[in-house]
């Protein structure tokens, strides 16, 4: 009898640091088992072999920042049965979306002596601004256990079990004393989606929001709390303008504190 055909997995990269796809190679205990379950059909960082599409599941890392990439993402979508974005770049535009608040021409001239050589768009945008996305996995970087959960869910045709509640719940669960209440340390945990395991408070620092906004975040209330801790307006702008600066709730909150 013929062996059952394995589902095809593809990994695609746009503007990013490669850290989220590296998370797959960082699954040291599970990688070979995973490779037994799926056909890793396109994953250039790990293999020079490319199997033609269509692909059952595409993982997309990175944001759209060039005219070429704005075209390429459509080809990726067409070749993919399911498309899941991985990480803050692909789901919110990433740290490079800081350009969205400035004039990109000025940015180019700061970095490159011959700006004419550089082709880039004015804004760094998430994948969902360009094509239909089946699921967005958050984090800068993503959590590898959550990545395995998402891959497993799609391979079995079920919904991924990824909670949208805040980091606060994870602190409670690991018995971390609230750094904001107990130590007066400004923390974005109350408005940030869980998934990291609440590591920053466990290491005695405030959350810096790398998993992006939780569902229905009350950012203005948190900003008032921070102001009570003597955090200045420019520092509030910087706090919301981090790795998920262009995610709508964070974007609006940072703009609310910008000096007119």
């Amino acid at each position: 009898m013929a062996a059952k055909k394995k589902p095809k997995l593809a990994v695609w990269k746009f503007a990013s640091c490669d850290g989220c796809q590296l998370s797959l190679l960082d699954c040291e205990d599970e990688l070979l088992a995973l490779a037994g379950e799926v056909d890793i059909a396109n994953f250039p960082e790990a293999s020079r072999a490319v199997v033609k599409g269509p692909y059952d599941l595409s993982l997309v890392e990175g944001s759209i920042t060039t005219p070429h990439d704005a075209e390429r993402i459509h080809a990726v979508r067409r070749a993919s049965k399911h498309l899941v974005t991985i990480g803050a770049c692909a789901t919110a535009g990433g740290i490079q979306a800081l350009r969205n608040f400035k004039d990109v021409k000025e940015f180019i001239s700061v970095v490159y002596a011959t700006p004419g050589y550089i082709e880039t768009l004015n804004k760094s945008t998430p994948i969902a601004d360009h094509v239909f996305v089946d699921f967005e996995l958050r984090g800068c970087p993503i959590n590898k256990q959550q990545l395995l959960e998402v891959i497993s869910a799609y391979l079995h045709g079920r919904k991924p079990n990824i909670p949208a509640y805040s980091v606060c719940l994870e602190c409670k669960r690991r018995n971390t004393v609230c750094v904001m209440v107990a130590h007066g340390t400004p923390c974005l945990g109350p408005v940030t989606q869980a998934g990291c395991g609440a590591i920053c408070p466990a290491y005695d620092r405030g959350c810096y929001g790398c998993f992006g906004p939780k569902e229905t975040p009350n950012t203005s209330s948190l900003a008032k709390g921070w102001a009570g801790l003597k955090v200045s307006e420019p520092d509030l702008v910087r706090a919301f303008r981090g790795f998920n600066a262009y995610a709508e709730p964070f974007r609006k909150e940072s703009m609310a504190h910008e000096q007119k």
Binding site: K13, A15, S16, C17, D18, G19, C20, L22, L25, D26, E28, D29, L31, L32, A35, I40, F43, P44, E45, A46, S47, R48, A49, T65, T66, H68, D69, G94, I95, Q96, L98, R99, K102, V104, E106, F107, I108, V110, V111, Y112, A113, T114, Y117, I118, T120, S124, C140, P141, C196, I199, C200, A202, Y203, D204, R205, Y208, C210, D235, R238, F243
Partner: protein, 433 residues
């Protein structure tokens, strides 16, 4: 195949098994290599621009996002540059913990490169996953060695990629002796694995290829370099880190989104494991030095293909050093030194797994960044990579295109290029005229 008339192009449109997006194009005419371009089309992300206006203490977390493979390197160069600007020195156990977390990154990054990105070329596999079908035990053990490095980073940093615990002045929280101790046992196992792996890679077949490189690396009087030292070369360079800009210049080429860095008035140079090793052989631990000798290496290695051995020797070194640091660890009273910003300029240069990574910042009296400059290892090696290919290809022109392309890819991968860093992938195209 036509002999001399038609041009021949070898194209690798998307280089695999490198970090980031790049391509290689080689043009050949009349059996001569007329052009070699390592094209970097990784989109620019403008870190130097958006760092302006950010606070000095944000630089380690922001610049870590330049590269998910070597975030510790970015964090280390950033904290040293900021501390230089603010006139602060971090010493004692806090300094030791910085070395320890860097050991973790070297072990993780080197093992990833040796077994997952580079060894498949030597053994003729498309990837380590293909390789695992015939060499399952080797790949499984390499994964566990890699994990030992990641365990250090995760314990000290909170997570493997973009760890959260490094700050200007030290750490947010430092571990207890009891928390670190179990790591030492795992690292002793890793050290033995790395020694065994060094013996394995020493038996690979290496092309006979050596060049008269200018190696550039840090050199420290007492130790194999990570965070501190002077910048030295085998051709007379010996400068303080703060003099970097006087001796090196970045150039912008049309075919690349990465700036090429060259040594002023001299041209291309070579950074990374081969350079570090050849300039610091005497600073290796006795165990690592013996491993190198047993693998057939002399105190200087000019064959870039043998970088795969040097990476494993450095992995032995990092495991050995990590064990020593843990055994001598005493928990410091405070997790960090207080750093007050002051107006000034700071320089930092540390040894990323791929070579020296230079940061320079100008900050104002409130600690707001006015200007930033970041020179990653791959942009320094780009010219040398292209130059290697100019010499590597001619004796191999009789190979069919597909085979020549693969060998060119392998030659590029000698440098473990990190294209995410350099612009902050690799596909080879060979054109024959």
């Amino acid at each position: 195949m036509s002999k001399n008339s038609k041009p021949r192009t070898i194209n690798v449109d998307y280089l695999a098994r490198v970090e980031g997006e790049g391509a290689l194009r080689v043009r050949i005419k009349d059996n001569k290599v007329t052009d070699v371009k390592l094209k970097i089309f990784e989109p620019p992300r403008f870190f130097e621009a958006f760092l302006r206006g950010r606070k000095f203490d944000e630089a380690p977390d922001i610049t870590a996002r330049i590269c998910g493979i070597c975030p510790i390197a970015y964090q280390m160069s950033a904290v040293h540059a900021m501390e230089d600007a603010c006139g602060v020195t971090v010493s004692g156990q806090l300094r030791a913990l910085r070395r320890l977390i860097y050991c973790g990154e070297w072990i993780e990054s080197h093992t990833l490169h040796v077994f997952f990105l580079h060894a498949p070329d030597f053994l003729g596999y498309e990837s380590a996953i293909h390789m695992a079908k015939d060499h399952g035990d080797l790949v499984q053990r390499a994964l566990q060695l890699k994990k030992a490095g990641n365990d250090i980073v995760a314990l000290l940093g909170g997570r493997e990629i973009h760890p959260v615990n490094v700050r200007v002045g030290g750490f947010y929280k430092v571990p207890t002796k009891a928390e670190l101790r179990p790591l030492a046992e795992k690292l002793k196992w890793a050290r033995d694995e790395a020694l065994a792996a060094t013996r394995v890679v020493a038996k690979l077949k290496f092309p006979d290829f050596e060049q008269d490189y200018e190696f550039v690396a840090l050199r420290h009087p007492d130790e194999y370099p990570f965070n501190e030292g002077r910048l030295v070369s085998n051709k007379g360079l010996n400068i303080a880190i703060r003099e970097f800009n006087d001796h090196f210049a970045e150039e912008h080429m049309a075919h690349s989104n990465a700036l090429h860095c060259v040594r002023k008035a001299r041209g291309n140079y070579f950074v990374g494991p081969l350079a570090r090793y050849s300039l610091n052989f005497d600073k290796l631990s006795p165990l690592a030095r013996d491993a190198a000798r047993a693998a057939g290496l002399g105190p200087v290695c000019r064959n870039p293909f043998k970088s795969i051995i040097v990476r494993m020797v450095e992995t032995v070194q990092a495991c050995d050093e990590a064990v020593r640091l843990i055994e001598q660890y005493e928990r410091p009273d405070k997790p960090c030194v207080e750093v007050r910003p002051r107006a000034g300029i700071g320089h930092g240069c540390t040894e990323a797994p791929r070579g020296i990574l230079y940061h320079r910042y100008k900050i104002d009296g409130h600690g707001v960044i006015q200007d930033a400059k970041i020179v990653p290892p791959t942009s320094q090696n780009q010219r040398t990579i292209e130059n290697d290919l100019r010499h590597f290809i001619p004796p191999r022109l009789n190979l069919p295109d597909a085979q020549l392309a693969w060998q060119c890819e392998q030659a590029v991968r000698n440098y473990d290029p990190c294209i995410s860093c350099a612009t902050h992938f690799l596909k080879v195209r060979i054109e024959r005229d």
